[in-house]
């Protein structure tokens, strides 16, 4: 009976761990709806969804990079770089040409990152710090250190179209984000290619032995990450009709935090698209709530850091417990010792 209870408890804990981000989401949503002034109304919820769009879109590709066991620190700068290109070229060619070029530029950044990590075998931290700095310089060079803005009826019409709800609470930018989420979720969880990201992140050598082209998978992950960062930056800039030189800076910490909080392991092989998106949404609700309660930005930063610290602490504890459990498998250890003796 005791054993059964223990099993139930551990099952429950495992279930809680597996769905922790959804539980967190539910708790924050219910708490804010009940207590935060003016949280639970369509205008505010639309604002939350619109704000989430940029970081949720960036998180899609970034999660794949992390599942592969790599890191992409250039996402924020890629978003800014692509936004600046899209708006600068729009003045001459219109969005029809400027947007595809900007998306391709973003994909190019990912390709470069991927090749340097997969083929030249440079640590992804180093590579993407380098790319981040290069992109900052390139952005400043293109703009001459100034923000880029557009005006005119056509531009504002596009901007208003992206911002105003097409369906209740769902402006086109949010609808696009939902579409991206569905496509990426299906791609990562249901396709062979998607499962390969987990294989490579879980154990690169085993993946290679299993016949997976690990380099191609890694390069693809970086391309997807940069492309989605570019798309996010472009959509944000199109809605604002402007791009500032630091517009993507805060997205890096935000997306990294949300992805880790969502349960994607920094060591790779574990995580999910939906989890990251729900984590981004949860953090945004938390931030909005803090503002509605009248707290400043500093409280928002503090809470974000606290949640991240708690999650990392929990991950470390879970990992320690897991290793401890492995050590307690006396039968397996005995078998291992016998096998060694035979050799």
């Amino acid at each position: 009976m005791m054993r059964k209870n223990k099993l139930d408890k551990s099952k429950l804990l495992a279930l809680g761990d597996r769905f922790r981000i959804y539980i967190l989401f539910g708790v924050i949503f219910i708490f804010m709806s009940l207590f935060a002034p003016r949280f639970f109304n369509s205008y505010n919820l639309t604002t939350i969804l619109r704000t989430v769009s940029m970081n949720a879109t960036i998180a899609l590709g970034f999660t794949i990079v992390m599942i592969c066991g790599e890191m992409d620190l250039s996402i924020g700068r890629t978003a800014t770089f692509a936004a600046v290109i899209a708006l600068t070229l729009q003045k001459k060619f219109g969005y029809g040409i400027s947007v595809p070029i900007a998306v391709l530029a973003g994909a190019g950044v990912g390709l470069l990152n991927g090749i340097l990590v997969a083929k030249i075998k440079i640590n992804s931290f180093i590579v993407t710090i380098g790319t981040m700095t290069i992109l900052q310089g390139a952005t400043y060079t293109i703009t001459g250190g100034n923000s880029v803005s557009l005006s005119g009826d056509k531009v504002f019409a596009i901007s208003d179209f992206l911002a105003k709800p097409l369906l209740p609470m769902l402006p086109p930018r949010v609808l696009l984000t939902i579409l991206f989420v569905v496509v990426f979720h299906l791609f990562v969880s249901n396709s062979q290619w998607g499962r390969n990201f987990y294989m490579v992140g879980g154990n690169r050598t085993t993946a290679w032995l299993a016949g997976i082209n690990t380099d191609r998978i890694t390069i693809t992950a970086f391309i997807l990450s940069s492309t989605m960062a570019a798309v996010a930056g472009i959509l944000f800039a199109m809605e604002s009709s402007a791009a500032t030189l630091n517009m993507g800076d805060n997205s890096l910490m935000y997306v990294v935090s949300a992805t880790i909080i969502g349960g994607t392991a920094m060591s790779g092989g574990k995580g999910g698209i939906l989890r990251s998106v729900v984590a981004v949404l949860s953090l945004e609700m938390l931030y909005t709530g803090t503002i509605l309660f009248g707290f400043g930005n500093e409280v928002k930063i503090f809470i974000s850091g606290l949640i991240l610290a708690l999650v990392v602490l929990y991950e470390a504890y879970a990992s320690y417990k897991h290793e401890k459990t492995i050590g307690q498998r006396a039968v397996l250890l005995e078998e291992l010792a016998q096998a060694k003796e035979k050799i």
């Binding site: 959804y22 949503f29 639970f40 504002f156 969880s189 604002s240 500032t244 503002i291 509605l292 400043g296």
Partner: protein, 404 residues
């Protein structure tokens, strides 16, 4: 996996239901009839002219001099950077605007009004500015909520949306970026909530949607500082055919970036043609980075460098003075925009030649006062400028204790 999808779908349905149930949010409740008249009468009796800033100066000061506005060139951007008219749309933003969809004043008094103030970021200047704003808000019994996006445009946009959601009686906003302010202004304007820009100027187009703008005339102030700067360089280098200077710039994008670089640049081109710009750099607001930049300039330009024009009289000025001290170059004239304790102390000890009067408390106070005037039904000009003054060693003592 299916479970996860179900949970997410459920969450989305919850969000949608929540939104539909409370479709329009809360509406502001106004004062009507006799209550409004009494409130207006009481509000008009409030005397804020007696309020003082931390430096002992009157808290609310309005410039009495109106600038002479030249005719706008057909395409200012086609002009060279050294032409003052190149900066027409920024320098004179707001003076000549086509106001669009501006709400009429309720003329029911400022007392009890809910005002949201969205600043640019956390900084000692912002704290002083907020203190000034609170002093006026308290005098009128206004409910003032101050939000800081910490220099993040996305967060400022979000704060604007959340403020619209709260339906305050007025929004006061420092635009984070001059050019991106157009969309922010349109959004608030479309919501029907009256708003005022303050401190930094947005582009002229954004001003069409705002009731007015209040703050320091940064371009005007920098033009004055540039003249004082040139005069001092001439005094120290009599007969010099070339006076090489360099600019330590503000953060790119905002109006101070343009006003504090191209304001003096275009002014000096006419006032002191012998002044030659050797370099312009924006190292941020860290003393060590500025020190490194100035050390590099000293190596690169040597004795050609005669003056440095800085956008900030605190961290940037500290870095500049430290680099000059290390190199033993006390011949270089340094001036800076700002009115901080660090800057004032350096003017007092002579290491900084001049700074600008830039009352942080007065800036915030004037924005709230202007909001109060609007509630009281007063006619407002397109811009309300804070008076200009250049602080040198001769009068720096009058501005102690500093506001920040």
């Amino acid at each position: 996996m299916k479970k996860q999808v179900k949970v997410v779908l459920l969450a989305m349905v919850l969000l949608c239901l929540g939104g539909l149930l409370f479709a329009q949010g809360e509406k502001a409740v106004g004062v009507t009839g006799a209550g409004a008249a009494a409130n207006l009468e009481a509000s008009l009796k409030v005397d804020t002219s007696v309020l003082k800033a931390a430096d002992g100066q009157p808290l609310l000061r309005l410039s009495s001099e109106l600038p002479k506005i030249p005719t706008r060139p057909a395409n200012p951007e086609a002009l060279p950077d050294t032409d003052p008219l190149r900066w027409f749309d920024m320098e004179y933003a707001g003076w000549d605007t086509k106001k669009t969809n501006i709400p009429a004043s309720p003329k029911d008094g400022a007392i009890g009004k809910r005002v949201v103030m969205i600043v640019h970021g956390d900084h000692p200047w912002t704290t002083a500015c907020s203190n000034g704003a609170k002093k006026v808000a308290d005098a009128y019994g206004m409910d003032l909520k101050i939000l800081s996006p910490n220099w993040d445009l996305a967060v400022q946009n979000q704060m604007i949306d959340q403020s619209i959601n709260e339906r305050p009686d007025m929004i006061l906003i420092i635009p984070l970026d001059a050019t991106t302010a157009i969309q922010q202004a349109r959004r608030i304007n479309q919501s029907g909530i009256p708003f005022i820009f303050f401190n930094t100027l947005p582009t002229a187009e954004a001003m069409n949607y705002a009731i007015t703008w209040t703050g320091p005339d940064d371009f005007g102030q920098m033009r004055k500082l540039a003249k004082v700067f040139a005069d001092e360089m001439r005094r120290r280098n009599p007969g010099a055919k070339e006076l090489g200077i360099a600019y330590v710039q503000h953060a790119p994008g905002g109006s101070p970036y343009f006003a504090r670089s191209y304001g003096p640049l275009s002014e000096l081109a006419g006032y002191a043609p012998e002044v030659v710009t050797l370099d312009m750099q924006a190292p941020g607001f860290e003393a060590d980075r500025t020190m490194q930049l100035v050390s590099d300039w000293l190596t690169r330009f040597g004795p050609r460098l005669k003056g440095i024009f800085a956008a900030d009289d605190s961290a940037q000025a500290l870095g500049i003075i430290e680099a000059l001290k290390k190199a033993g170059r006390d011949d270089i004239v340094v001036v800076a925009a700002g009115n901080s304790k660090i800057g004032m102390d350096m003017v007092t000890d002579g290491s900084l030649f001049a700074i600008t009067y830039q009352t942080a408390e007065g800036d915030g106070a004037l924005a709230v006062q202007t909001a109060a005037d609007w509630f009281n039904g007063k006619e407002l000009p397109n811009r309300r400028d804070i008076p200009q003054h250049i602080i040198t060693k001769a009068d720096v003592a009058d501005f102690y204790p500093p506001q920040w």
